[in-house]
């Protein structure tokens, strides 16, 4: 009933979207893996990053892909500062408080955005925005192809960072055994802040890749939070390969779901997957037993 000629493009579109979901989920899973906190502000911070990329384009004419060197460090700095000076201070070390702190942050950020920039949807119209790459069976939009490869490159870079650098090793040490890491002289608070910063920097990268084919408005984070959580749970909390594979799977599920069930109902596939994972494999595809 559904021919290959439209199923294959739907799957390919889904993979390109999924790579960006993976990048967003990567930040979330890193923050969870190291700090053991669920960052409810993830969606609103992505929204801030999207606005950042938008304003760089609208006010200074900087192409979203060229905004990387500005947005990624800026989001890193924001993440570091938020963890060091806001979340750590307000939570007094208790996990339940951290949840509330991040939730409170998300509400403040969203309403600030609504107040400053109104509810209007902002889009950018780049010259390559509607060009396509002809893959024979499918015509895939250029921004989506760039997003796919961009997300893979950033994920690869992050993985290398975690494996090869001292800071990466310190982060993994803190994630594995917090007190032991403290005993061997690792500055745990600094590592926490660095991890949060890197997680939010991933959002900056995702925003640069996402905006040419998407949009920004104060509510845009909500949709992504749910998807990011689903990906993290699907892949296993704290697992990088899990986040990548989970992202791709969810992207394809959403795209194929939309094809069969229509735009309004298509997202249901994601939540069915979420519930199924929780029921049958709660630790996720690559997760470790608690």
């Amino acid at each position: 009933m559904v021919e290959l000629s439209i199923l294959v493009p739907a799957i390919l579109n889904g993979i390109t979207t999924g790579a960006v979901y993976a990048l967003i989920a990567l930040g979330l899973t890193l923050i969870y893996g190291v700090l053991h906190i669920i960052n409810f502000a993830h969606g609103s911070l992505l929204m801030l990053a999207l606005y950042g990329v938008y304003f760089l384009y609208a006010l200074f004419g900087i192409d979203p892909y060229l905004a990387f060197p500005v947005i990624v460090p800026a989001m890193f700095g924001l993440g570091y500062a938020l963890q060091r000076f806001v979340i750590a201070r307000t939570s007094h070390g208790r996990d339940e408080n951290v949840l509330l702190a991040t939730l409170g942050l998300s509400i403040i950020i969203e309403n600030l955005a609504l107040y400053l920039w109104s509810a209007d949807t902002r889009t950018v119209s780049t010259p390559y925005g509607f060009s396509t790459v002809d893959l024979g069976l499918a015509l895939i939009a250029v921004p989506k192809v760039v997003a796919f490869f961009g997300a893979l490159i950033v994920t690869g870079a992050l993985w290398l960072f975690m494996r090869r650098t001292d800071l990466g090793k310190a982060i993994r040490a803190v994630a594995r055994e917090r007190d032991g890491a403290r005993l061997v002289g690792i500055d745990v608070d600094h590592v926490f802040a660095m991890s949060f910063g890197i997680g939010i920097a991933c959002l900056g990268a995702a925003a640069c890749l996402l905006l040419p084919s998407f949009y920004a408005n104060p509510m845009v984070g909500h949709g992504f939070v749910l998807i990011a959580f689903t990906v993290v749970v699907l892949g296993g909390m704290g697992s990088f390969p899990g986040a990548l594979l989970g992202g791709l799977l969810i992207g394809v599920t959403e795209s194929v779901g939309g094809l069969f069930l229509g735009e309004s109902l298509g997202q249901i596939g994601i939540f069915i997957v979420f519930i199924a994972i929780l029921l049958f494999r709660p630790t996720g595809l690559f997760g470790q037993q608690a």
Binding site: P9, A10, T121, L139, G258, G262, S264, G266
Partner: protein, 410 residues
């Protein structure tokens, strides 16, 4: 003749009688003795949120009418009373729109014009009805709006029942004249009141003119990705594509169709959100070429309409339907105020219900309100030709010949 016998009492009586006569004369010659109180009118539009472009255009049209009326001396039967606009933002949400109506009511407005979107108008007209507040719907085309027995609600422009029937009749005329090349159609609509209602009506009427609806795709507002819908379009390969959605989504759908090299025999919209928009034609001429629409339009042979076009473009705005429909809605209200010679809500409602206003520049029949709907209102058939929007049907108002079917895309 009263004979005054006591001088002191007489002069006091004369003073009192004189004052009474003076006071009586005041009410007989109001514009001589006191300044006219401005008439407050509410202008409610979704100037932020998902349909903010249409909302801001709507507000601009309404404000230009207020300026023109005040510049021409205000409401003469109220002593030259100027219109005092009270602006409100519905934020593209029905509940916020209703809340704004309450605020406008408390501010003491004589009437409200606006709403723009059908789903907002449905809520705002109802909120206004609670207070007997006259409400002129500017655009909102859902027929339900004027079919609930609300005596306060009026609509000068046509509803989608009339628009869809004219659209189908127009399509039949074009299809027959070309030898009936179009046999199948796909409808792409947004999922709120406007889109769903239009889609349902079309699904019922199209088979009657020999066109089979082979696929209906719905989507929310906003939607930022039409890849799946266009993929389904490629698979089903309809002769005709009928979009019914708001501006941003219409543009994105048309561009995605061009991008994915989908080439139907015609793109025919009914109230296409971007189809008859100069902004769309100017920004994306390739995606807009040959698109046909059955929509609100001005009478191109009326100078007043062309003057307003110049004035609008001088402000750096595109001359869209939201502008001229709102302009005319406020003008209608001004005419009603003139005839009611009062800012009393009930009198305004009466004046609107009995209105036969002919001082407009729309391509309509004679004005006559039945249950709040102007029976003379009608849409026209338009097509994007030579990077401009032309009227192709009905012949009385046409200024170009239709190209149907459209040439295949490369």
């Amino acid at each position: 003749m009263v004979r005054v016998t006591q001088a002191a009492g007489g002069s006091r009586r004369r003073f009192i009688a004189g004052s009474a006569a003076f006071a009586a004369s005041l009410s007989a010659f109001p514009h001589v003795a006191r300044a006219a109180t401005p008439v407050k009118i509410g202008l409610l539009h979704p100037v932020t949120g998902a349909v903010s472009y249409s909302g801001t255009q709507s507000r601009a049209g309404a404000m230009m009418a207020v300026e023109d009326i005040n510049a021409a001396g205000g409401i003469k039967s109220l002593g030259g009373a100027p219109l005092e606009p009270m602006l409100a933002d519905a934020q593209s949400k029905a509940d916020i729109g209703a809340a704004e109506v309450e605020k406008l009511n408390e501010a003491g407005v004589a009437a409200i014009v606006g709403g723009y979107a059908s789903f907002i108008c449905l809520a705002t007209t109802q909120a206004a009805a609670k207070h007997g507040l006259p409400y002129i719907v500017d655009v909102g085309v859902a027929d339900q709006i004027v079919q609930r027995g609300l005596t306060n609600t009026f609509r000068f422009a046509p509803g989608f029942g009339v628009i869809t029937r004219r659209a189908v009749a127009g399509l039949d005329t074009l299809n027959t004249a070309a030898g009936k090349p179009v046999k199948t159609a796909m409808i792409v609509h947004e999922d709120s009141l406007f889109g769903t209602g239009t889609a349902n009506l079309l699904s019922k009427e199209l088979p009657g003119i020999g066109i089979e609806v082979i696929e209906v795709a719905k989507h929310p507002t906003p939607t930022r990705d039409f890849n799946n819908i266009v993929l389904r379009m490629k698979a089903r390969n309809p002769d005709l594509v009928i979009p019914a959605n708001y501006y941003d989504e219409y543009v994105l759908l048309a561009r995605t169709m061009l991008q994915q090299k989908v080439s139907p025999k015609a793109i025919y919209s009914v109230l296409g959100g971007a189809a008859s928009q100069y902004r769309f034609v100017k920004e994306f001429p390739d995606a807009a070429a040959y698109i046909m629409d059955c929509n609100h339009w001005y009478n191109p042979k009326r100078q007043a309409a062309l003057d307003l076009k110049k004035k609008t473009e001088a402000k750096g705005l595109f001359y869209t339907y939201e502008v001229f429909l709102n302009y005319e809605a406020v003008m209608l209200l001004a005419d009603a105020l003139e005839r009611a010679a009062s800012a009393d809500r009930a009198k305004i409602i009466e004046a609107l219900a009995s209105s036969t206003w002919a001082g407009h520049f729309m391509p309509y029949g004679p004005t006559k309100f039945v249950n709040g709907q102007n029976e003379g209102a009608q849409p026209v058939n338009l097509q994007v030709l030579d990077n401009d929007i032309k009227v192709v049907l009905p012949p009385d108002f046409a200024n170009a010949k239709a190209v149907f079917p459209m040439p295949p895309r490369a």
